[in-house]
């Protein structure tokens, strides 16, 4: 299908998210995406979830298979770290932030979630907040 003209395309914001689990645990990308959708649906409802449209566009976690070691900039170590880039619609960053804060477990593994910052482009997010390739 022919793509939309630029002025009709949706505008996006990119949330840089830091993840942390206890030592020896890991989080697969697919599970994180599923939890994002569940969290958004549970907190924001179907319309809010559709409006925010949380989509994981980049993901890296220590031990997730194929990924290199996640971010180690978190102070104090003791745990496994990862990071993700979550795309949301412009104007929906606060609901998306709230939904992400409600993720406390992924595949029965307790996780810490922290939104490091919001960017307008993937490149800016990578430059400012993320270490993933």
């Amino acid at each position: 299908m022919k793509h939309l003209p630029k002025h009709l395309r949706p505008r996006w914001r990119y949330l840089s998210v830091g993840l942390e689990t206890p030592p020896g645990e890991s989080v697969p990308r697919r599970s994180f995406q599923r939890e994002c959708w569940y969290a958004a649906q549970n907190l924001l409802g179907d319309p809010g979830s559709a409006a925010a449209d949380l989509t994981v566009v980049a993901f890296e976690f220590d031990g997730s298979g194929g990924g290199t070691t996640g971010s180690t900039d978190e102070a104090g170590a003791e745990g496994e770290f990862g990071e993700a880039l979550v795309r949301v619609r412009r104007g929906e960053t606060d609901p998306a932030r709230a939904a992400l804060a409600c993720i406390d477990c992924i595949d029965d593994v307790p996780v810490g979630v922290h939104v490091r910052g919001v960017s307008g482009t993937i490149r800016a997010a990578r430059n400012s907040f993320l270490e993933l390739a």
Partner: protein, 228 residues
Amino acid sequence: MYEAVTIDSDGASFDLVVDRAATFGYDGVVVRNAESLPESSLDDRPIDAVDATTIRTADPQVASGAVGNARSDHTLVLLEGGSPEMNRFAVETEKIDVLTRPMGRDGDVNHVMAKAAATNGVRLECNLGGILRRTGGRRVRAIQSLRKLYELVEYYDAPYVVSAGASSHLELRAPRDLCAVGEQLGLPGEWVSEGLAEWGRLASRNRHVRSESFIEPGVERGRYETDR
């Protein structure tokens, strides 16, 4: 802004909590069970660590004695509610700083308690932990309780504090994330951040009162005023 945390007795988990809280932009952490940590573990931290104790009992008379004992040893004295009797006792006791979990278990807060809390300066805790970590019907009830507490606190201008009820570094959430969650529930973001900051104001007030220079309100030890 401060977050009130419950810590396992080992110092390592407290180190992690303090590190994460500093990363997330908190000015300090309130340790709800400081008595279970090794002595001096609150000193020399990158952010402020406030020494607090939580009194848990179902009997107001036992609580009354415990409050008197704890008041001189800890900066903050919290009392865990959860029943109408304990909630009533807490809001009518000036020596208690914060009534935690007022809506937990069988607990409830009404207009009489909110007025008493405002009169006696007892902070009511709005705990977002139930929203962050529960699901289904239990989460719905937690949201309903929080909304009721918010409406009473707003109407009677009762003092309040906000926390995420974290018990490990993984359960900590950044202040901005908590404000965003609050806004989704109908609590203004400024209201949530004021509640997080209230812990710090409470701690500094109590530290001042406990310091040697303080004698009673309006009377302090120090140099004479020379310009009279």
